[in-house]
């Protein structure tokens, strides 16, 4: 199928698909950050059972294949009387998986700071809240910029799982299978979607690198 024909027939759907992918990514990433932060707080808190829960959460969701989690959320949860629409199911899946990785990023951000700094801060008489607010969080956030940029791209790629549900309207990956199961679409629909993904990833990566260069702490 030539490009002009593709655009005439499916142009509108492509715009919708791109916007769907973007909105899924944005909403999921917001959820990833919030839940990732929450899990990280659990993992560093002094209460042992909560730490274990946080660690367990990360190990479970970073190791589970996205598709089997999605299938569980979509098809198994209704058996347990939990019913969501497809969009919510996809977002929940992406957030669960992504937040495990997000928490790992935050943890390694915290770990780069080094015990010595905390000891130094404490011997200067800083309280726990001061240590967190003035020493730990600023440094952890700065060194987490680049990993979080990559996570944002990864979250976008993970939203392709939505193509495995009958979600309407389809996102970029779902649209390729939608077109190709209806007509002989040829390579053009694939290239269009691939470029949309790769282009978005490129822009995210570019902006992330810029911010990182500005705020990075050179050790």
């Amino acid at each position: 199928m030539p490009l002009s024909e593709l655009l005439a027939t499916y142009g509108g759907m492509y715009v919708t698909a791109l916007l769907t992918t973007w909105s899924l990514t944005a909403v999921s990433f917001l959820g990833v950050m919030v839940l990732g932060l929450l899990v990280t707080v659990l993992r560093v808190c002094p209460v042992k059972p909560l730490r274990v829960v946080g660690d367990l959460y990360v190990q479970i969701f970073r190791n589970i294949p996205g598709i089997s989690l999605l299938v569980f959320v979509v098809y198994a949860l209704p058996n347990l009387n939990v019913v969501w629409d497809y969009r919510t199911c996809v977002i929940v899946t992406v957030v669960l998986v992504g937040s495990a990785f997000g928490s790992e990023n935050l943890m390694s951000g915290i770990n780069t700071i080094g015990v010595g700094q905390i000891e130094a801060a404490r011997s200067l008489g800083l309280t726990f809240t001061q240590i967190l607010r003035q020493i730990v969080v600023p440094q952890a956030v700065r060194s987490a910029i680049l990993p979080m940029t990559n996570l944002l791209i990864a979250v976008m790629l993970t939203t392709a799982l939505a193509s495995q549900t009958p979600m309407k309207p389809p996102e970029l990956t779902g649209l390729v299978s939608y077109i190709n199961t209806r007509t002989v679409g040829g390579i053009t629909p694939f290239v269009a979607s691939a470029l949309a993904y790769a282009g978005t990833a490129f822009v995210i990566g570019f902006v992330g690198n810029r911010i990182d260069k500005k705020v990075r702490i050179i050790r």
Binding site: P46, R62, I67, S68, N105, N150, L157, L161, G185, A198
Partner: protein, 283 residues
């Protein structure tokens, strides 16, 4: 998990040695949180109970040998794809990496675009390319290759970057010393730098295997009989969706956990860092 050795110490270093007052509060919180966690687990089990999912008919077939033999065959299918794709991705990633660090400008540019392209698109999209698009051009392949090649391509982009990070981590002095001995660039790369780089990236490469294993689960799209696909057959046979997915998910988690642990251990032993994309790609 860049510095797993420090995880505990940094966690603990955040707090002062608790005094008797704080200690009591921590104990109370520990008790409360234990109760909460138990309540949560209880709630989930209760949910399973009231919806009848704990009924023996949903679980009893896991006691049969045939069930496990069938799942085992699927597991072998998974391993087949994962190992093939892993090896191919390593070779291809190596090629891309050589292109990327080449002094030949156009070649470096092209390699960079190719690497970024494969890192920037979801493996599902590539699977559809091999499954729906290529057949339209008369390219026929078995379901094994239809899952293997997309997984290989997406992994090779990431692996190329991991390898490059490894090459960059070899000290500059190694290059300079080899140049001053009169060695050529290619020879230095192959004989001096790459062997050291490989040692640095082995843990990272192993952790990339997790991504590959996860991607193989998309094999059901092309109806390749991997473990997830066989699980679907079990589900239709026994009409037991929740229990089968529950068990399958645990198997995948354990396998990937083992791979991750191996990579972290190796990294700790050799004193290197696990390099990945975020550290790895979800999906």
């Amino acid at each position: 998990m860049s510095a797993p050795v420090d995880v505990m110490s940094m966690r603990d270093a955040l707090y002062e040695e608790p005094g008797p007052h704080t200690l009591r509060r921590i104990r109370i919180f520990t008790g409360v949180s234990l109760v909460l966690v138990a309540a949560l687990v209880g709630l989930v089990i209760h949910r399973f109970c009231v919806t009848g999912q704990l009924d023996p008919k949903y679980w009893s077939f896991f006691l049969k040998g045939t069930t496990w033999a069938f799942l085992g065959r699927g597991f072998l299918g998974t391993i087949g794809v994962a190992v093939t794709a892993g090896v191919l991705a390593l070779l291809l990633g190596m090629v891309f990496m050589f292109g990327r660090i080449s002094t030949h400008r156009p070649l470096a540019m092209v390699s960079r675009v190719v690497i970024d392209f494969f890192r920037g698109i979801p493996s599902l999209l590539l699977i559809y390319f091999f499954f729906l698009v290529l057949p339209q051009y008369g390219v026929k392949m078995t379901s094994f290759w239809m899952i293997c090649l997309p997984v290989t391509l997406t992994a090779s982009g990431v692996i190329a970057e991991v390898l490059r990070a490894g090459v960059n981590a070899v000290p500059k002095g190694q290059w300079e010393a080899a140049y001053s001995l009169g060695m050529r660039r290619t020879r230095i790369l192959l004989k001096i730098v790459l062997p050291q780089a490989m040692r640095i990236v082995i843990p990272s490469l192993i952790s990339q295997l997790v991504v590959v294993v996860k991607d193989t689960t998309l094999g059901y799209v092309v109806s390749y009989p991997d473990m997830l696909q066989n699980a679907r057959v079990l589900i239709t046979n026994y009409d037991a969706l929740v229990s089968v997915y529950f068990v399958i998910a645990i198997i995948y988690i354990l396998v990937n956990y083992a791979i991750n642990e191996l990579s972290v251990r190796l990294a700790r032993q050799s004193g290197t860092r696990v390099i990945g994309r975020t550290n790895e790609n979800p999906v």
